[in-house]
């Protein structure tokens, strides 16, 4: 079984309770991943609600729209940014 590594940043780390996880993944898209994670329950659905997710990053590339996530990928889930 293939897997992906998911990294959470900023307040998402606190909201979901950890900084990273490994998830079984046969293939799919960023939209499918978010739907799967939101389906874990109310806390996850709230933490990853639309306004709480700013960008997704697949293998160090910021992606837009519903992007492909190949098995073995590193996926970063970024909340709204507050630098500068």
């Amino acid at each position: 079984m293939s897997s992906i590594r998911i990294l959470y940043f900023g307040r998402l780390k606190d909201a979901v309770g950890h900084a990273d996880e490994t998830l079984d993944w046969a293939g799919g898209t960023t939209g499918q991943l978010l739907a799967q994670l939101r389906g874990r329950g109310e806390a996850w659905a709230g933490a990853l609600a639309e306004g709480q997710v700013f960008r997704l990053v697949v293998n160090q590339q910021i992606v837009r729209g519903d992007a492909d996530i190949p098995p073995g990928a590193e996926v970063g889930i970024l909340p709204p940014v507050t630098g500068g």
Binding site: L7, F9, R11, V57, I62, G76, V81, T82, G83, G84
Partner: protein, 152 residues
């Protein structure tokens, strides 16, 4: 265009960075420097520290992309960006943007553009630590989005 991006925990030295950039700035008639500092207050409670995290590799690449966008809009000769991460005390420098160009209008505008996009696009997250022991992740500000939108 010369472009140098650094994410670091250590403080930066404006004078040293300016001297270093001049070597690469070519025949620039203008050099604009912007330095952002940690404010000691947010709302009523004094701040003891600001903690920043980033996404190593991705953050640097995104700042480089933003600098490239600036260079496509204005005739820049050199850009230097330093953004600090980790724990910073009130009054410390958090971000430094240096822009060199032939003329001042381009340098001023490009520096403002870089800061607006650094605040709204670059992957950094701030957490405030207050004097009463509480802490919170900073919310993204709508006013920062408005500031960046003026360049669209």
């Amino acid at each position: 265009m010369h472009c140098d991006i650094t994410i670091q925990t250590a403080p930066f030295d404006l004078g040293a960075e300016e001297a270093a950039l001049r070597v690469h700035a070519g025949d620039a008639g203008a050099l604009v420097a912007f330095q952002g500092m940690v404010r000691g207050h947010d709302a009523a409670i004094p701040l003891t520290a600001l903690f920043l995290e980033h996404y190593p590799g991705v953050t640097e690449a995104e700042i480089r992309r933003i600098a490239g966008d600036a260079a496509a809009r204005w005739p820049l000769t050199a850009v230097r960006v330093i953004h600090r991460v980790g724990s910073l005390a009130p009054g410390e420098g958090i971000v430094l943007v240096l822009v060199a160009s032939g003329h001042r209008a381009a340098a001023f505008e490009a520096a403002a553009f870089l800061m607006d996009y650094l605040k709204t696009e670059a992957p950094f997250w701030k957490r405030e630590h207050f004097a009463d022991g509480s802490q919170r992740w900073v919310d993204a500000k709508a006013s920062d989005g408005d500031a960046a939108a003026r360049w669209a």
